[in-house]
C-alpha cells in the first residue's frame, strides 16, 4: 500500500495526551504517515522514516477533522425570508420546523439527495470529516424512511432517526397516537438505515413521558440514544438523557445546577450548539461551567434550515471560546474528540496510528488562530479517510 508522509506541521493536535503536550496532545514539528484510509504513524519529524510520497505543509497546524455530531441535512424548501422576519423582531419557536416539513414531503429523492450532497461538500471544505445527520422533516412513514435512506446513500457517517422532532398536523391533539407510530411502524421502517434514535424533549415538542417512550423503543430495537433538550428553557431533557444513559444530550443552553452535576457524574456527553444559540439570539450555553464541573462537552454546528443554517465548525469553535468561555484547547478537543465521544467512536477525532486518516490542515501555525481570526476561512487542506479534498 502506498504511504504518504505529511511534514512541515508546526503543531499536530493528536488528542492523545500520551503522545504530546496538554489536553490536545500537541506534537511540535511533527509528521504523520497515511496508508490507505488510515494513519499508520505519528511523531516528531526528526523520527520520520521513508515513505512513498512526501507532502510538505509549510509550517501549518494540523488537527483531526471536525466531528460534527449534530445536523439535520435532509430537507427541502427555503426559510431565509422567515429568518429575515425573525431578525426584524419575530421570535424563534420550535413550531418553525413545520415550515420545512411540507417542502420535504413534496421533494423528490433526487432533490433531497442533491441538497445533502451540497451541504456535505461544504462541510468537508470547512474541515468536517465525520458527520451525523437526522431524519425529522418528514414526520410521516414514507418521508422518514426516505430521509434515512438518502442520508445513508449520501455517505453520512452516522444516521439518526428523529421521527419525534415535532407533532405533525395530522396528529394534532393526538400526540400519543403519533408516538405510537414513531415507536411502531416508523421505527421498523427506518431501522435498517439508522444507528441512533433521538427525540426533541422540549416545551412545544414532546414531554418527558413521550420522550421516554421513544427512547425506550429505540433502545429495545438496538439503537443508541440521543436527546434534544434544554434549548429554549430548562426542562427534563438532560435528566432523562442521563437517566437512560444516552450517548449525548444536545443544546444544553439552559441548565440547572442539578443538570450540570448530573452530566458531570454521567457518561452522557453535553453537546453544545453555539451557532444555533447565536442564530436564535439566545444566551450562550454554559460551556465553562460544564467543563469546570467535569462534564464531557462536544461541539456541533446543528446545520438545519430553521435555527442554525451553517456548517462552519470553525465558527462554532470560535463561538465556544468567545461566548461560552472555553479555552481554545477545550473547544478544539470538544469539536473533534468530544464529537467522537458523542457518537461512541474511537476511530475519528484523534490523529493516532490506526485512526481513520481524517486531517484538517489550517492556514495558520497554531490552533489559537481559529478563534483569534474568527470569520476568516482558515481551512487549507482536508484529508478524509486518506483521500485529499
Amino acid at each position: 500500500m502506498t504511504s504518504t508522509a505529511l511534514q512541515g506541521i508546526s503543531r499536530l493536535v493528536t488528542n492523545d495526551p500520551t503522545r504530546g503536550a496538554g489536553l490536545l496532545g500537541v506534537v511540535e514539528d511533527a509528521a504523520v504517515v497515511i496508508e490507505g484510509s488510515t494513519v499508520s504513524w505519528v511523531g516528531p519529524r526528526s523520527e520520520l522514516g521513508p515513505a512513498d510520497q512526501l507532502v510538505d505543509l509549510g509550517g501549518r497546524c494540523v488537527l483531526p477533522g471536525w466531528v460534527d455530531s449534530h445536523s439535520h441535512l435532509v430537507f427541502a424548501g427555503d426559510r431565509s425570508a422567515e429568518f429575515g422576519a425573525r431578525m426584524a423582531g419575530a421570535p424563534y419557536a420550535a413550531g418553525g420546523i413545520m415550515a420545512t416539513v411540507g417542502p420535504t414531503r413534496a421533494a423528490t429523492d433526487e432533490e433531497l439527495l442533491a441538497r445533502v450532497q451540497r451541504l456535505l461538500a461544504e462541510m468537508i471544505a470547512g474541515g468536517t470529516t465525520c458527520v451525523e445527520t437526522k431524519t425529522g422533516y418528514g414526520l410521516d412513514l414514507v418521508t422518514e424512511v426516505r430521509s434515512a435512506r438518502i442520508a445513508r446513500a449520501a455517505g453520512v457517517d452516522e444516521v439518526t432517526f428523529l421521527g419525534a422532532h415535532l407533532l405533525p398536523p395530522e396528529f394534532a391533539g393526538d400526540a400519543d397516537g403519533y408516538i405510537d407510530l414513531v415507536c411502531g411502524r416508523m421505527l421498523a421502517g427506518v431501522l435498517p438505515e439508522v444507528s441512533w434514535i433521538d427525540v426533541f424533549c422540549e416545551s412545544g415538542a414532546f414531554d418527558e413521558d413521550q420522550s421516554r417512550r421513544v427512547l425506550e423503543a429505540g433502545r429495545a430495537a438496538g439503537l443508541g440514544l440521543r436527546v434534544h433538550g434544554n434549548q429554549l428553557g430548562t426542562g427534563p431533557g438532560v435528566a432523562l438523557a442521563v437517566e437512560l444513559g444516552a450517548a449525548s444530550v444536545d443544546h444544553c443552553t439552559y441548565l440547572s445546577p442539578q443538570d450540570i452535576d448530573a452530566l458531570a457524574a454521567s457518561t452522557t456527553v453535553a453537546t453544545l450548539l453555539p451557532a444555533c444559540d447565536l442564530s436564535t439570539r439566545q444566551a450562550a450555553a454554559p460551556g465553562r461551567a460544564l467543563v469546570d464541573a467535569g462534564a464531557t462537552v462536544a461541539l456541533a454546528a446543528n446545520c438545519n434550515p430553521g435555527s442554525s443554517y451553517t456548517t462552519s465548525m470553525s465558527l462554532v469553535v470560535a463561538l465556544a471560546v468567545l461566548q461560552c468561555r472555553m479555552t481554545v484547547a477545550e473547544a478544539v478537543w470538544s469539536a473533534t474528540a468530544g464529537g467522537a465521544a458523542a457518537l461512541g467512536r474511537t476511530d475519528v477525532g484523534r490523529i493516532v496510528a490506526g485512526a481513520r486518516a481524517d486531517l484538517h490542515v489550517l492556514d495558520a501555525p497554531a490552533e489559537d488562530y481559529l478563534a483569534y481570526r474568527v470569520g476568516v476561512p482558515l481551512t487549507h487542506a482536508v484529508w478524509k479517510a486518506g483521500t485529499r479534498y
Copy 2:
C-alpha cells in the same frame, strides 16, 4: 471603452432608494453595466441594452463591495499566544497595543508592506473593496511616517494618522510632551500621506483634553477627524467627536442615553465594531438603539492584531444582526453606504451610474443569507474599480 454587462442578478442592492425597494434600493432580476472603473448603468434586466461583454451571475445577489472604514493593518509581530492566554482568563486592556509597537518599529518596510498586502488580499477575497487603515503601532516619528507611507503604497483607499493610539514608554509620565510631538513634527511628517487624524480617547489611552488637542491640530492641518471612543466603558469620546464634528466615532460599545441622543442629532457616524466586541468578550454594541434613535451607523471589522484579528465583513454583518439586533437590511446598509458615510465618500457603497464599480457577488439569492448562513464563506466574485478579483 469596453462595456461589461452583468445579468442573472436575483437581487441588486443599490443603496439608492429612488431606484429600488426599501432602505437598500433593491432591484430584482437586475443588470449592471461596467465601463472602465465605473458603473455606467443599473436597472432591470428587461431594459438592458447591448454591451461588449455579458456575464451571467446565475441568479445571485449583488451588493456594493464592503466599505471597511476602520482597520489597523500596518504592524508586525504575532499576538496569537497573548490571545490564547486572554481566552484562558486574562482580561483585555488598551495597553496590549504596546506588544505590537516593538516588533513594528523593528520590522523592515518590506515586511510591513507584505503584511498589509496579505491582509488586503484577504479582504478583497471576502468582498471588501474600500479600506481605511491607520498608523499607530509606531508611536515614534520615524515609524509613524513609515507606516503612513506603506499604507499609501499598498493602495489603501483612506489613510489615517493615529499617532495618539497609546502613550509610548519613552514618554511615560509625560503625556503632554508626547501630544506635543504628535501635534507637531509627527503630524507634519505624515501629512503628505494621510487624509484623517484619529485619537484613542479612552481610560488607559488619552483623556478628553489630550484628545481635543490632537483633533484640533489635525483639523488645523486640513485633516478630517475620527475618534476611537467608548470601547471599554462610557467616557467623553462620543461627546467630543460630536462637538468637533468628527466624521465618525468608532467602537461605541458603551453609550449613555445622552451619547445616543447626541449622535442622532449630529452628522457624526457611529461606527460599530462587533467582531472586536466579540473577540474581547464584551457586550454587543447598541446597534438597535442607535438606529431607532436615528443615528447613522457604520460597521467595520477593525482588523488589528490585538482585539479583532479578522477581516470578515460578512461576519461583522451577521454579528450586527444576531447580536446588535439590527435587521439584515440595516446591517448591509451600514457595512456599505454607512462605511462610505463614515469616510465622507459618495463614490463607493452604492451601485449607481457614476459610482466606482465595486461589486460583491454572493453565492446566495438574497442578502439575508449573510446572517442566515453565518460562518459560511458566501463571497462568489468581487469587482473592485471595474477589475474582477
